[in-house]
């Protein structure tokens, strides 16, 4: 105890020991006429004051220390550099429809979703940088944010004029991979392209509920077996969410039956707010994904026609640009979408007797919690914030494995013929028989030799 106390007394702070400090303090309390120390409460203040404001003589650094001074690494260097780079991205002309995310984010904030303004600005710059990089891009929009265990994913969706023809198995649908996605885990870092997904992967992903780990190359060990890494499952989930949730106001697009293409309507007028705030005003933009994992039905040539017909009936193709009113209702609700109104709900009429409304409509999908579409009378945006899983109303029930094959029936067993006594040597009955036996054996031998 005494040793410890002695150590404290001798401890050094900027060249003075505790003992010196006490002496100084006592002296100041008594003698200093400018700082009138009167009570115990001033003791601490004075002590602090002396500690901070004393002139302490620091010994000069030795020659060794000066010569080997290490450059201090500025800890924020990387961050500043990346941020500056991102903010300076600019191009003369970009030939693509780039979403005005900065403006649309303000719309999202008004309904209680979205990013900070700074993040929205970074996202806008990222959209620009990807659009500059690839000249085949027609459309680019911010898809949303997928949360993961270790690091979240930010996703950007892109439509190309010429898709990359990666070799795919025969049963895959090219149109399924029409949307191309880029992901990143940090807005200041580079974006990675997600690989294309095959039909089998798409089919398997319907039965998997999984929280992403944050590592794109992680092996997925789930049942049913998914042949691919996390990046494939990520792409499959993103596609499922897009095809279920990307909405457009009625009348914006037109589906041409002959060319099977979606084009803009010639004269488009944004529907009235009253219509937009009901399910009548919205349609699904992308096609529906079949249970098979494709957009159009695949007729496997190896299957019989009956089987194919059965599969087709269980998995019908739906018409394009279908109203969201016809979506399968979720539990006891009417339909799949929850509609809420935000903002100024006051109805105005302008000088020409036309209704003017500043209200903001928010549509939320029950089946995919986190998928929302927000619109006011001028803009609309669909976005996703979530973990990427459906809303399971029932507890998770893992898929039962196949029935175990039963063993075949046993054949009746007959005991081996093991008589107790050795059979007697059979003697031939007569000389004739003996002779015949010998002849027979000789004939067999001759035949074998031939």
């Amino acid at each position: 105890m005494d040793v410890q106390l002695q150590k404290i007394f001798d401890s050094n702070y900027k060249g003075k020991t505790l003992y010196n400090h006490f002496c100084e303090l006592y002296y100041q309390m008594q003698e200093n006429k400018y700082y009138k120390a009167q009570s115990l409460s001033d003791f601490e203040d004075l002590s602090n004051f002396i500690k901070e404001n004393r002139f302490y003589h620091l010994p000069l650094k030795t020659a060794d220390q000066v010569n080997n001074l290490q450059d201090q690494i500025f800890p924020w260097q990387e961050y500043c550099k990346q941020q500056m780079q991102l903010m300076q991205i600019k191009a003369k002309v970009i030939n693509a429809t780039v979403q005005n995310f900065l403006k649309l984010n303000a719309l999202l904030n008004n309904v209680g979703y979205g990013f900070t303004d700074e993040d929205a600005y970074l996202i806008q710059q990222s959209l620009k940088s990807i659009a500059i990089r690839d000249s085949n891009i027609i459309n680019i929009r911010f898809w949303g944010k997928l949360f993961a265990q270790n690091r979240d994913y930010y996703v950007i969706e892109v439509q190309l004029s010429k898709s990359y023809k990666e070799p795919q198995p025969i049963d895959c649908d090219e149109k399924l991979n029409e949307y191309v996605h880029y992901v990143t885990q940090d807005l200041l870092e580079d974006w990675a392209l997600l690989p294309q997904v095959t039909r089998k992967q798409m089919e398997a992903s319907r039965f998997i509920t999984y929280v992403f780990s944050g590592n794109l190359n992680k092996e997925i060990t789930q049942y049913p077996i998914f042949n691919g890494k996390e990046k494939h499952l990520l792409k499959a989930q993103i596609l499922r969410i897009t095809h279920a949730n990307l909405l457009a106001p009625r009348g914006l697009y037109r589906f041409d039956d002959e060319t099977k293409l979606i084009t803009f309507e010639d004269e488009f007028k944004m529907p009235e707010s009253a219509e937009l705030s009901t399910m009548d005003g919205w349609v699904h933009l992308p096609p529906n994904i079949l249970k098979q994992g494709r957009i159009t039905f695949y007729e496997d040539p190896s299957l019989k026609e009956e089987e194919l017909n059965q599969m087709k009936e269980a998995d019908p193709e739906l018409e394009r640009l279908k109203s969201i009113k016809d979506d399968k209702p979720f539990e006891q609700n009417e339909g799949n979408w929850n509609i809420k109104i935000f903002g100024e709900t006051q109805q105005y009429t302008n000088q020409e007797e036309q209704p003017l409304s500043y209200q903001i409509v928010q549509l939320r999908n029950y089946l995919w919690p986190g998928a929302i579409t927000v619109s006011n009378s001028n803009d609309f945006i669909s976005i996703y914030f979530g973990y990427g899983n459906k809303n399971q109303q029932n507890s998770f029930n893992p898929l039962a494995p196949n029935d175990i094959q039963e063993e075949p029936e046993d054949i009746d067993e007959i005991p081996e013929p093991n008589p107790r006594e050795q059979p007697d040597e059979l003697e031939p009955d007569s000389d004739d028989e003996r002779r015949r036996e010998q002849e027979r054996r000789e004939a067999e031998l001759q035949q074998q030799q031939e």
Partner: protein
């Protein structure tokens, strides 16, 4: 979370926020709570989304004069922004409420479970002292969920509070922590034996981590610690209650809940 709502930028990490109307009205409503109740701090706890309307929850904390852990009192309000005390829930049915997957409707009188108890007064000779339990309403479900989340999730970084010699909790000068799970602890009365012993022995006065650590939570993977690009703004999320968010940077810390109030009971199967 503080009602100045400067910390909302952390909540943006899960894609949620409060719009201007909500912020302004909540500030007024939370100040109004202090008209009738005396607390050291009144904080905004979170928003539980419902189909028709949302619920807003506020939390009043009293540190002074409380032995070993501050007193917490919850207040709820619907879209009318008028806070009232969150009532007690019926214990029997509360457990079932945890596994419910239906969303909140927003109508607080909506009945979640019916308690079919009828007592026939004519036949019995004695009239029971208590009336039969009322039906389990959505308000009670909300109460149970809020208190569950607070118990299971509410977390603060180590070094943010200190235990005084009289066993009161006070806030200390907070300097920030690195982004690791071991730097966080539960903001509740410790239930783990070793932490309780620590406090009983008075050793907790000198240690920054005297409450239950998050590292000991089972299942282990339910916590997700993430930083943003600057590596100093840290958010810590819970996967069993998606929507819960704890945050800190070098100056502030706090937590909030922005979600639909449904527990992710399948969590163990999802990894």
């Amino acid at each position: 979370m503080n009602i100045s709502f400067n910390d909302l930028k952390f909540v943006h990490q899960i894609g949620q926020t409060l719009n201007l109307e909500e912020r302004m009205r909540l500030q007024l409503a939370i100040l109004k709570i202090q008209e009738h109740y005396v607390f050291d701090e009144v904080l905004f706890w979170g928003r539980v989304e419902g189909v028709e309307k949302d619920y807003y929850i506020a939390l009043g904390i009293q540190y002074k004069g409380q032995y070993e852990f501050p007193l917490k009192k919850f207040f709820w309000s619907s879209n009318n922004y008028h806070f009232a005390e969150l009532p007690k829930y019926n214990e029997e049915f509360a457990q079932r409420a945890e596994t419910l997957r239906e969303p909140f409707t927003g109508q607080h009188e909506h009945i979640v479970f019916r308690t079919d108890e009828e007592i026939n007064f004519e036949d019995s000779l004695e009239i029971p002292a208590q009336l039969p339990a009322k039906n389990f309403s959505e308000l009670e479900r909300l109460s149970y969920i809020v208190q569950s989340i607070e118990f299971q999730c509410a977390s603060i970084p180590i070094g943010s509070y200190r235990l005084t010699p009289t066993h009161e909790l006070i806030k200390t000068k907070f300097k920030g922590v690195t982004a690791e799970l071991k730097n966080y602890q539960h903001f509740r009365q410790p239930i783990r034996k070793d932490k309780q012993d620590l406090i009983a022995r008075d050793e907790a006065l000198y240690r920054p981590d005297f409450l239950d650590s998050l590292v000991d939570d089972t299942p282990y993977n339910q916590w997700s610690v993430q930083t943003d690009s600057t590596k100093r703004n840290i958010t810590i999320r819970n996967l069993i209650w998606p929507g819960y968010l704890g945050y800190n940077n070098d100056y502030t810390f706090g937590y909030a809940y922005f979600g639909d109030g449904i527990k992710n009971s399948d969590f163990e199967f999802l990894l």
